[in-house]
Structures are given as structure tokens and as C-alpha cells.
């Protein structure tokens, strides 16, 4: 490679970085005008940090039992109290953040691309392809996700992996419908007509013209979905079909705390608060992202 070429390439790289930095700054600027969205992002950032650094943050082991200390109310030694085996609830919540993040991310990574591609292809191709894909979507949409998860757990054995697969299986249809609706609008625009005139292939139209227009609303929808995923995962855990004991899954923690609810409220309430705050944060972030990514929803 000649030197001149390298310089050009370097400049292009530099330019790209500058652009990225500028648009990032613009987004942050917009975000500062949304205090609630900021709060949501802050809570999520905190949650992710906690999940990453769990072994260093947690004051006690999440699984070692300490029976003499069982069912202690919240105090300075055990900030969130202890459960029926004397395990520190705060430490369990901190380790549980890992499971929650893992579930949410896995489901999103599966559901997002699958929903987007099915929806965009259906909307763009139309006709028979559209009919087949959308009827399939309708069929899956009519399954309650919890029931399907129950069936799956029965068939494959309970566990976090099964829960993730079950939630993903029923999670993609809303995304696909959304992407299809957007693709239907975009495929009739003049810029797609112009692209057809200069010979853009169907795949090019699909991935470079139509999909980019659908991604923002899909991202927003996915973020909103994350709150629902947490709740479904917690519900599965509560029913004993998610992560298995002694792993500190939040839903399973509520389930085991149920037995002591009247006398020892903290055992069930503390994980409840964690679930509440996390899903609230995801909803706030989803709302803020919609304002950031979708100019049509700009607040005046």
C-alpha cells in the first residue's frame, strides 16, 4: 500500500471517529434534557457495574448457609436482612443482577434480529411470503409465553437456558409486526423507487434502505420489552422453572420468601424492589431512546 493511500485511509478513519464523537455528543445533549431518561440510564449503568463487579461488591457469599443468622431483619451488618438459611439478601441480589442481565441480553439478542428480519422481509416481499410469515407470527403470538415456557421446562428440564429459549420463542412476534408495518411504509417511498431505478438488488434494498429505517423503532420496542422479559423471567423463577436453587435468581427469591411473608417481610420484599426498579429503569430508557432515535416523537 502506498503512503498516500494510507494517509487517505487514515484521514477517513479520523473523520469517521470525529463524526461518531459529534453525533454521540448531540445525543448526550438531548438526553440531558430528559431527567427521567437520565435516571433510567443511570440505574441501568449501576446495575451493569454491579453485575460485573459482584464478587468485589457483595459483602457475603450468596450461597454459603449460616443457619444461626437465619431470618435476621435489615440491620447494619445485613443491609437487606437474611433469608431462611442465613444468607445475606443484599449479596444474593447483587449476584442475581448477573442472572437478570444475562437473561435480558440473551433474549434481546435472539429476539431482535429474528423479529426484524422476519418483519422486514414480510413487509418488503409482500404477497404470499408476507401471508405465510404473518400467519406464522399470528400463531406464535397466540401462545401465552408463560404457558409455553412451562411446556418447555417440562420437556427440556427447568433451568435458565430453557427459560431464555422459552421467552425468546414467544418474544419475536411483536417485533416482527412492528418491523413489517415500518417496512410497508418505507417500501413505497420515492427513495426506494429511485434505488430501483439505479438497479439496486432486492437484498441491497432490504438491508441498506429498508432495514435501517425500521431499526430505531425496533430498538425502542426491544428496550421496552426488556422490562417484560425481567418480569417473565422472575415469574418463571417464582414457579421454580427458571434458574435453579441455590442460584440467586430474583423471582426464585420472592418465591422462597413467600413462606415467611407475614413475619419476615424483607425476604420477599427486597428482591421485589430490585425487580421493580430494574423494569422501571428499562421502561424509562425505552422512552428516552424513542425521543433520541425517532424524530417523529420529538417533544416540543
Amino acid at each position: 500500500m502506498t503512503e498516500a493511500k494510507m494517509i487517505v485511509q487514515h484521514n477517513a478513519l479520523h473523520q469517521g471517529a470525529g463524526r461518531f464523537y459529534r453525533s454521540l455528543q448531540k445525543s448526550i445533549d438531548k438526553l440531558t434534557r430528559e431527567p427521567l431518561g437520565m435516571l433510567g440510564f443511570a440505574v441501568l449503568a449501576l446495575l451493569i457495574l454491579v453485575a460485573i463487579f459482584a464478587p468485589w461488591i457483595a459483602p457475603y457469599s450468596p450461597i454459603t448457609q449460616n443457619l444461626p443468622q437465619a431470618l435476621q431483619p435489615p440491620s447494619w451488618t445485613h443491609l437487606a436482612g437474611t433469608d431462611e438459611f442465613g444468607r445475606d439478601i443484599l449479596s444474593r441480589l447483587i449476584y442475581g443482577a448477573r442472572i437478570t442481565i444475562q437473561t435480558v441480553l440473551s433474549v434481546t439478542v435472539i429476539v431482535g434480529p429474528v423479529g426484524l428480519i422476519i418483519g422486514v422481509v414480510a413487509g418488503f416481499a409482500g404477497g404470499r411470503t408476507d401471508a405465510i410469515l404473518m400467519r406464522a407470527t399470528d400463531i406464535v403470538l397466540s401462545f401465552p409465553s408463560l404457558i409455553l415456557a412451562l411446556a418447555f421446562a417440562a420437556a427440556l428440564g427447568a433451568g435458565l437456558g430453557t427459560a431464555i429459549i422459552a421467552i425468546s420463542l414467544t418474544g419475536w412476534p411483536p417485533i416482527a409486526r412492528l418491523a413489517r408495518a415500518e417496512a410497508l411504509i418505507v417500501r413505497n417511498t420515492d427513495y426506494v423507487a429511485a434505488a430501483r431505478l439505479y438497479g439496486a438488488s432486492p437484498l441491497r434494498l432490504l438491508f441498506l434502505y429498508i432495514a435501517p429505517m425500521c431499526i430505531p423503532s425496533v430498538v425502542v420496542r426491544l428496550t421496552m420489552n426488556m422490562a417484560g422479559i425481567i418480569l417473565t423471567a422472575a415469574a418463571l423463577g417464582f414457579l421454580g422453572l427458571g434458574a435453579q436453587p441455590p442460584s440467586p435468581e430474583w423471582g426464585a427469591m420472592i418465591s422462597s420468601g413467600r413462606k415467611f411473608m407475614i413475619d419476615n417481610w424483607w425476604v420477599a420484599v427486597m428482591p421485589g424492589i430490585a425487580i421493580l426498579l430494574t423494569s422501571l429503569a428499562f421502561n424509562l430508557v425505552g422512552d428516552a431512546l424513542r425521543d433520541l432515535l425517532d424524530p417523529r416523537h420529538a417533544r416540543s
Binding site: 423507487a193 430501483r196 431505478l197 438497479g199
Partner: protein, 245 residues
């Protein structure tokens, strides 16, 4: 350059069949600028879209540059004619930077990277090279229409199909864009087919105009006719009266 024989376009099926264009024939010489004028819904845009290859419901014969073209165009046939759309706010991809908008035709045709053609394309339509970095929403309507014209010309077609290229623009900007189009035609020897409902635009731009009503041509006006306001049919007289009040 363009020859059209018995072009018919119909939408719908069975009892709902609607004949939009009824057996029209016309031809455009190389370097000529033909105007098609008429009210909204008379079928003039449909004729243009059939010429471009966007509408595939037509029957009849269309030939571009002496070769007959099919409903599904080959790359070489697409290269002959490009189109500029009416609404510059809807005809440019909102998430592509201008450089990408201008490089994309070359890339889609698999004729190289296309990025090196961007500065020249911008210069041709009188826009500064710095605009390459911008997004369409950072441009005014007139500037966007210039970008759309630049995009149509990047592939160096011989025919430019213009679908009401100025009707979405401000009056002061309309003149600029029309003058740009006239200059480009002179410089590059392009052949234009311009569709408009505005007779003054047609009179300014075209050597010859066809008046369309309900899917057929009712009148043909040459340059002298357009300037003198002479008409050969009742309908075009009405059209003239209403546009030059």
C-alpha cells in the same frame, strides 16, 4: 431517443379496471426537451413512470435509444434513463449522508466504489463539496432537489425524466432549479421529458409540449405556440387561460 407506441396503462381488474393511459404514441428526439402538461390524475405521471420502468402495468412498445425495452429492465437499459422525483423531502434516504446518496447508484450498479465521483457530482449541481458530509435534513428543499438531480446524473444517463421537479419548492427556488436543469441539458446534451401541471414551467423549459386529458393527448404545442399562447384545442385554451391569469 425515445419512441412510444400505443402505450396503455390500466390499474385494477375486471369491473374495477381503470384505463389511466389510452394508447398514446409520441417520440422525443435526442437533445430535445418534451413537456407533458395536464391536470392531476390525467395520467401524465403514469406515462413517465412507465418510461422509467417503475410501473409495470403497461402494454405497447417503448424504445429508448433505438432499442426496445421490456417491463423488467436490464442494468444497461436502466443506465439510459434516470428520474427526478417531485418531492425532494421524500426522494432522498433520510439516514444516508449526501456522499452515500451520490455514491449509491454507482455501487448498486457494481461500477466501483463511487465515492470518488461525489465531489464532481456536487460541483455539477452547484453545491459546495462540504455538503457531502451532511444528512438530507440539514439541507433546504432546493438543495435537496439539487442533490436528487446530481444523483440522477451520477450514472451519466442520456435521458432525464422529470416528474414535477419544482412543484414542491418555493417560487424563488423554482427558478434556480429550472435554470440549473436548462444549463445541464445544454452542457451534457441531455434529453428531457418533463411532466408538470404548470404551463409556465413547461414554456420555460421545453421545446415542445403535449397536452394530456383523461389519458390521451389532445394537443401538441411547439415553442412558438407556447410563447405566443396559441392553442389548437379547446381544452388547452382553458389550461392556458387558467395558468396565465
Amino acid at each position: 431517443m425515445i419512441e412510444v407506441e400505443n402505450l396503455e396503462v390500466a390499474f385494477g381488474k375486471g369491473g374495477n379496471l381503470k384505463q389511466v393511459v389510452k394508447a398514446v404514441s409520441f417520440s422525443v428526439a435526442r437533445g430535445e426537451s418534451l413537456g407533458i402538461v395536464g391536470e392531476s390524475g390525467c395520467g401524465k405521471s403514469t406515462v413517465l413512470r412507465s418510461l422509467a420502468g417503475l410501473d409495470r402495468h403497461w402494454t405497447g412498445r417503448i424504445s429508448l435509444n433505438r432499442q426496445s425495452v421490456d417491463k423488467n429492465r436490464t442494468i444497461e437499459q436502466l443506465l439510459l434513463a434516470q428520474m427526478v422525483f417531485q418531492d425532494p423531502y421524500g426522494s432522498i434516504h433520510p439516514r444516508h449522508r449526501i456522499e452515500r446518496v451520490l455514491a449509491e447508484p454507482v455501487r448498486a450498479m457494481k461500477k466501483g466504489g463511487g465515492w470518488d465521483r461525489v465531489p464532481k457530482a456536487l460541483e455539477r449541481v452547484g453545491l459546495p463539496a462540504g455538503f457531502a458530509e451532511r444528512f438530507p435534513h440539514e439541507l433546504s428543499g432546493g438543495q435537496r432537489q439539487r442533490v436528487a438531480i446530481a444523483r440522477a446524473l451520477v450514472l451519466e444517463p442520456q435521458i432525464l425524466l422529470l416528474d414535477e421537479p419544482t412543484s414542491a419548492l418555493d417560487v424563488s427556488v423554482q427558478a434556480e432549479v429550472l435554470n440549473l436543469l436548462s444549463d445541464l441539458r445544454e452542457q451534457q446534451g441531455l434529453t428531457y421529458v418533463l411532466v408538470s401541471h404548470d404551463l409556465s414551467v413547461i414554456a420555460h423549459m421545453c421545446d415542445r409540449a403535449l397536452v394530456m386529458k383523461d389519458g390521451v393527448f389532445v394537443d401538441e404545442l411547439d415553442r412558438a405556440d407556447l410563447q405566443a399562447g396559441r392553442t389548437h384545442a379547446e381544452y388547452s385554451a382553458v389550461l392556458f387561460q387558467s395558468s396565465f391569469l
